[in-house]
């Protein structure tokens, strides 16, 4: 029962620095394992996707956010999730005219604290794992989206900005036929 009582109040808080540094060692290891930064970007996205698939269940159980009825709902909930898991409040903005695309703007990026990109990895999207998490989590709630970085403080931009684009709604699986 002890596990339950802990979670009912506040989710377990850990030091953000430990998290940031652990992520840093992950990226450093990937840079060693792969020769070019594109592969590292791809791996980070894939890892994020796998995290997102599980994280969504935790988010649903913890925050009980209910279903989304449009993309603005989704954007609000992504904002809420950033607060819950990273302790930052991103702003949502730059909606496309069709309402199917928006940006998540981070003033500070907790993943990239203490980080400076060396010259030979300018192509590296350091926090690319976040894009994967967003994609994986949305896919589990029937939303196919694309997520990618368009601005990064590590590359001299003022803010870190993730663009999210709605692709399509996924339908319930139909029952398997008689075989």
């Amino acid at each position: 029962m002890s596990r339950q009582s802990m979670r009912s109040n506040d989710p377990k808080k850990v030091s953000g620095e430990l998290f940031t540094l652990t992520y840093g060692s992950l990226v450093a290891q990937l840079l060693k394992d792969y020769e070019n930064v594109d592969d590292v970007n791809r791996q980070l996205e894939r890892m994020g996707y796998n995290i997102g698939m599980r994280l969504i269940e935790d988010f649903l159980a913890r925050a009980n956010p209910g279903r989304c009825y449009d993309l603005r709902d989704t954007a609000d909930k992504i904002q809420q999730a950033f607060k819950l898991y990273l302790g930052v409040s991103p702003s949502i903005g730059s909606w496309s005219p069709g309402g199917d695309e928006f940006s998540v703007v981070l003033e500070t990026n907790p993943l990239a604290e203490f980080v400076e990109l060396p010259d030979h990895c300018l192509g590296l999207r350091y926090s690319n794992i976040l894009a994967g998490v967003i994609r994986g989590a949305c896919e589990m709630v029937q939303l196919e989206v694309m997520a990618w970085f368009i601005a990064d403080q590590l590359k001299g931009d003022n803010v870190t900005e993730i663009r999210v684009k709605f692709v399509k709604r996924l339908e319930d699986a139909i029952p398997a036929g008689e075989d």
Partner: protein, 145 residues
């Protein structure tokens, strides 16, 4: 009051877990066939209910009652389906199903990296906790025939 049995389906209609407590009648087919039949019926009921509903549906909870038992379906936004058969007087089943999701499934399957989310659940810890939570609920009181 009684809780009969529980089915857990994933978003692809695969049976992730089945267990029963007081089931007095078997369906006379294999578990696989039974699960397919169950999922097919849930799928049909859901689309039927959505089509004939005179008001906007928001909640992921659905029950039907016969004169002998009640079927309770709780569906999470991630399309996991928890189906619990109880007797017709059982109270608080929706809360129980939510509790099973947040305190048993998430804690012991999602947090466990060795549990593949797309395969039937084999974790014994999950089974033990599920049993514990169900047996603690007010709706559970076994009355063997």
């Amino acid at each position: 009051m009684t809780i009969h049995n529980l089915y857990l389906f994933d978003r692809d209609g695969q049976l992730l877990y089945y267990t029963d407590w007081n089931r007095k009648k078997q369906s006379g087919m294999t578990r696989d066939e039974e699960a397919k039949l169950m999922y097919g019926m849930i799928f049909s009921i859901k689309s039927f209910v959505a089509k004939v509903s005179p008001v906007d549906l928001k909640e992921g909870y659905l029950t039907y009652t016969t004169n002998k038992y009640r079927l309770n379906l709780y569906e999470t936004p991630s399309r996991l389906k928890f189906i619990l058969n109880t007797d017709i007087h059982a109270q608080g089943i929706k809360e129980l199903l939510q509790q099973i999701y947040t305190q048993v499934y998430v804690e012991y399957v999602v947090y466990n990296p060795l549990c593949n989310l797309k395969k039937p659940i084999e974790s014994e810890l999950f089974a033990a906790k599920l049993d514990e939570v169900v047996k603690q609920s007010a709706a559970y009181a076994s009355r063997p025939a």
